[in-house]
Symmetry: D2
Subunit: 148 residues, 4 copies
């Protein structure tokens, strides 16, 4: 996707503030998730994984990684399409490649297509300090009709 064609309307700080308003879990069970930075056609989201996010084997759980992927798509929709809380995931396919220990994980997201009704994106989840891919997901968000 040519990056200049699709400029974000909100930065990470504005998106995080919006998320906290509309998404009560982000103040509670999801407090560990946030937008780190937003750029044309993509963004990075972070999970500061602690004990709550682990599963047997002391590895970050599938649902925690799914949540990071889903929030990555939501941040892309809020920042690049419309700052409207009503975008919804229509599908998400995730592959788990490696175990991740507790600690910061970064999800590098890119918009594969921004249509009128649908946005397709993918995300590479890696340890914040760098390293092999832990999980990779592709998803589709349904965008609400523009309000006037």
């Amino acid at each position: 996707m040519p990056k200049h064609e699709i400029a974000p309307r909100l930065d990470a700080e504005a998106v995080n503030a919006l998320l906290k308003t509309v998404y009560p879990q982000l103040n509670d069970t999801h407090a560990a998730y946030r937008a780190l930075e937003i750029h044309p056609g993509g963004c990075t989201v972070r999970l500061d994984a602690d004990e709550r996010h682990l599963r047997p084997g002391d590895t970050v759980s599938g649902p925690s990684l799914f949540t990071l992927a889903d929030i990555g798509g939501y941040v892309l929709a809020l920042s690049h399409a419309e700052p409207d809380a009503l975008a919804v995931t229509t599908n998400l396919s995730i592959n788990f490649m490696r175990k991740a220990a507790a600690g910061p994980l970064d999800g590098h997201c890119r918009i594969l297509k921004m249509g009128k009704a649908l946005m397709v994106f993918d995300i590479d989840i890696v340890p914040a300090g760098g390293g092999d891919t832990i999980a990779h997901a592709t998803g589709t968000y349904s965008l609400p009709p523009r309000r006037r």
Copy 2:
């Protein structure tokens, strides 16, 4: 899958007890999830969705439905393969079809393939009282080598 070929080794009560031992979140953030019944080649898992599981629009969130799907696969692996906590999801693809309000949701799971190293399953998530499919997922669990 011919149902008689693959008999469960554990019932719902035994699996729920095992889950609580090995999966601390099931006593805490995931307390609303449990196995409802287990039969040859399949099982039903339930989410009693409350406010914690909602997203903007007062609908059960994608991560909550993903968690139900993932637990469905885990229950199948524990009951039909090996009561070993170390089975891990390798991929999961989920489609979200309809909004679900707070309340009980049932995930009807079936084993599509039980191999030596991998188990493939799918799940239909519907309102507990019956109704249209809310979400459908297909996933693969990697099974640990049998212990002796």
Copy 3:
């Protein structure tokens, strides 16, 4: 999906005639694919797999099974939404479970959601005579706006 809510507008014979008109490959490389029967909320499609559809190991190839799944969704869209050739697949996720030898394969398809703009479906591919699932897929078709 309550079956009575969504009645097909075309039967298998009419769909096969339409497919041959709009889809030239179905007279040529895809001649082995056809609709077998259509019922409210679902259909069965068949692949008569011969040597052209095999891959190393003398098993029906992944692309051949994908094509059957894709045609299954197309038959559902043509028969249940609009007999309009311009419905297009937006995504398809397929799991390959078992090898299939040359011979007839049936794909049992069901509509998981018929929306205004999107149709979600799944398909179980089994040997025509019955037996274990060979492949399972879930897909989404984008439906063209209704013409007048």
Copy 4:
């Protein structure tokens, strides 16, 4: 995936020769598909799409793009794991983003994980001359046990 960790054992010419030996369709219905180049941790595969690969609307068909993705994974398995024809796809999830006209299409593939039994990869399919992503897929290949 750190590129230096995983060096290919075969180049594009050797893989194409191997494909023609073991995969009869590549001399016939699949003659338009080939490996273009192979590098550590990835490869590029090409489809020279002509009339045979089009669907209604004169756009390259879903099965043709799926086949390119599947061949991309096969080329990665042959070149990076074992030059053994018996690697098989276990699942593949593909998103179709834009229409593609007849002409050359390139699939840029990367290995997300090379395990002992499974290889996970993804592929971006773009027009050969450059441009927006036409389709994106993620897949898993099951690798045969090493022969001696």
